[in-house]
Amino acid sequence: MTGEVKRMSVGDLQKIAKNAEQWAQSDSGQKTIENTRKHVEETTAHLSKERIVDNQILRMPLNL
């Protein structure tokens, strides 16, 4: 995956981008993107909660 591999032509990339745009504007595309975002928000909210140190851990004596 370095610059040495065969590159896509500008035309091919434009075609891909056009298809992606059409898909993003379609109902199924919108729904998929929205579901992805929702999943991201739920996961990051869960992780944020998991990372918080509670008082029990904060004041636990480390004494062995």
């Binding site: 370095t2 591999v5 999943h39 990372r51 904060l58």
Partner: protein, 520 residues
């Protein structure tokens, strides 16, 4: 005689330690350090010990002048220091070096030096400042926190690359102080602050403690108190709960790669007993990790791939075990009663070298609780911000990939996210084979902040893209600095899709990346 030369054996080392401690060898043999050093020196191939007597150790002297000198018992002021070599030589050989008659052996001593242990003249807690070389790295073990330590042995300049370690003395320091002391040896060089002695750490940590508790003799610190000690050296404490293995691995890796050591707070559980008894809280300094050939473990329920999930073991300075002690992520859970509902619950755990009640090594499990990272005040953006941003970006890219819009990307991207100093990044750019030559100059001459977060996206074929973020910015700022091009197709693809509003409109966290590509 101010020194003695011994062929290395664990019995010989125990004898030397017991001489300095004025304790019977049977007492030294009971220490977990004995087993640890036996295995460690065998792996390092130690052949000879040079024992130096009447050695004055700065850290012990601080503890001595603040505490031991005021005891009725006449504790000694001077320590022993034992140097270890992979070379075999005799008393006579060494004597010749000191009379400049054996220069070839002198050079060999320098190249085969394994480091030293300072033995404190205390009856039980003998292991003082210890600087021993690491396990061989072999491309799988990483010890990013190590630095050069010099030892002058009767005029012979010896050098070892390591991170200092010492056992708590249970008076001036408990495990928490010892782990902080090791961590400060790393951050002191990295962020340029003075390195306090164990008793100074304990004193600053407990300065604001409630008056009902004695600070000395010290019976341990809390994470809150350790935070005070970190502030006292001019750094900011950053605390993250680490009961989740994914959070522990990713956070620890993110900072260790930038040579920032951290404290891991754990609870030890003895599984050799029927009811899995809780031994108590413990603190260790995390000093390295081992990345295996295994596949990355996707984040739960997402498929998001991080390189840090390949970590198989971490290496810790455990003051009750030894330096660079292994703790393995072996997937074993420990069933303990949940305090909220009284039901037994499986908790993830790591292996440890502690001995259980049945004296068997391996039966004591470590339950990770939190990581405490001492940070330079200008490193304001924490790991989680970059992690969540990349996760956001990756989710959209993976959606597009699975829909068939990225035919040149055969598999999901694996991300390597870590903090870095700008000079380290530029050093890597200069020697990189993955970055096209014509792109190097603009990267090397670009003005960037001193601390950056790097997120390198790769497939099995190599790196695809790298994003650089300003670690010194504020959270609501535009953290994104620039992208490093490894793959033209992916770069051009990002440029094209970043101009499609319907695709990127929901990407709130990663919006800055798309905005940057859109402006290219």
């Amino acid at each position: 005689m101010p020194y003695a030369i011994h062929s290395y054996s664990i019995e010989g080392l125990v004898e030397l330690l017991s001489q300095v401690a004025k304790a019977p060898p049977s007492q030294v043999n009971l220490k977990q350090h004995k087993n640890y050093f036996e295995n460690y020196f065998e792996k390092l191939g130690a052949k000879t010990i040079v024992a130096e007597f009447d050695y004055i150790d700065h850290d012990y002297l601080e503890d001595y002048s603040s505490y031991y000198v005021k005891c009725f018992y006449d504790y000694r002021r001077k320590c022993g220091r034992f140097h270890f070599f992979q070379e075999s030589f005799t008393n006579e050989d060494f004597s010749k070096i000191l009379s400049s008659e054996n220069d070839s052996l002198l050079e060999k001593l320098k190249t085969t030096y394994l480091g030293f242990i300072v033995a404190k003249p205390l009856p039980k807690t003998i292991i003082g400042r210890t600087c021993l070389t690491t396990y061989p790295c072999e491309d799988v073990r990483f010890f990013p926190i190590t630095r050069d330590y010099n030892a002058n042995l009767f005029g012979i300049e010896l050098n070892v690359k390591t991170l200092a370690y010492q056992e708590q003395d249970q008076v001036a320091a408990a495990c928490a102080t010892s782990s902080l002391w090791s961590v400060f040896h790393g951050t002191g060089m990295l962020f340029h602050h003075a390195i306090p002695s164990p008793i100074e750490i304990t004193q600053t940590a407990t300065e604001k403690s409630p008056a009902e508790k004695r600070n000395l003799p010290n019976k341990g610190l809390t994470l809150e108190q350790m935070g005070h000690a970190i502030r006292d050296v001019g750094l900011d404490p950053f605390l993250v709960r680490a009961t989740d293995e994914y959070i522990l691995k990713s956070t620890a890796y993110g900072y260790l790669r930038a040579r920032v050591p951290l404290v891991l707070a754990i609870q030890l559980v003895d599984t050799s007993t029927v009811d899995h008894s809780l031994i108590g809280g413990h603190a260790v300094a995390v000093t390295g990790f081992r990345v295996g050939p295994s596949e990355p473990k996707p984040m739960d329920g997402t498929g998001f791939l991080l390189r840090s999930t390949r970590i198989e073991k971490i290496y810790v300075h455990d003051d009750q075990i030894g330096p660079f002690a292994r703790m393995e992520f072996d997937g074993i859970t420990v069933n303990l009663e949940n305090s909220s509902n009284g039901h037994k619950h499986p908790y993830p755990s790591l292996s440890s070298s502690w001995r259980g009640e049945n004296a068997e090594c391996g039966k004591v499990r470590a339950l990770p609780q939190a990581v405490l990272v001492p940070l330079y005040h200008k490193i304001r953006i924490p790991f989680e911000i970059i992690h969540d941003l990349i996760f956001d970006f990756d989710s959209l890219i993976e959606t597009l990939r699975t829909e068939g819009f990225i035919p040149f990307l055969p598999e999901r991207i694996e991300w390597d996210i870590f903090l870095s100093q700008l000079n380290d990044f530029k050093g890597e750019v200069l020697t990189s084979f993955s970055i096209p030559k014509e792109k190097k100059e603009s990267l090397l001459t670009a003005k960037m902040p001193k601390f950056i977060w790097r997120a390198i996206g790769s497939t099995q074929e190599g790196p695809v893209v790298e994003f650089l973020f300003d670690a010194t910015d504020i959270e609501q700022g535009n953290l994104f600095i620039k992208s490093v091009e490894y793959n033209d197709d992916f770069h051009n693809f990002l440029k094209a899709i970043s101009k499609i509003p319907d695709l990127v409109k929901y990407s709130s966290r990663s919006r800055a990346i798309f905005d940057w590509f859109s402006s290219q």
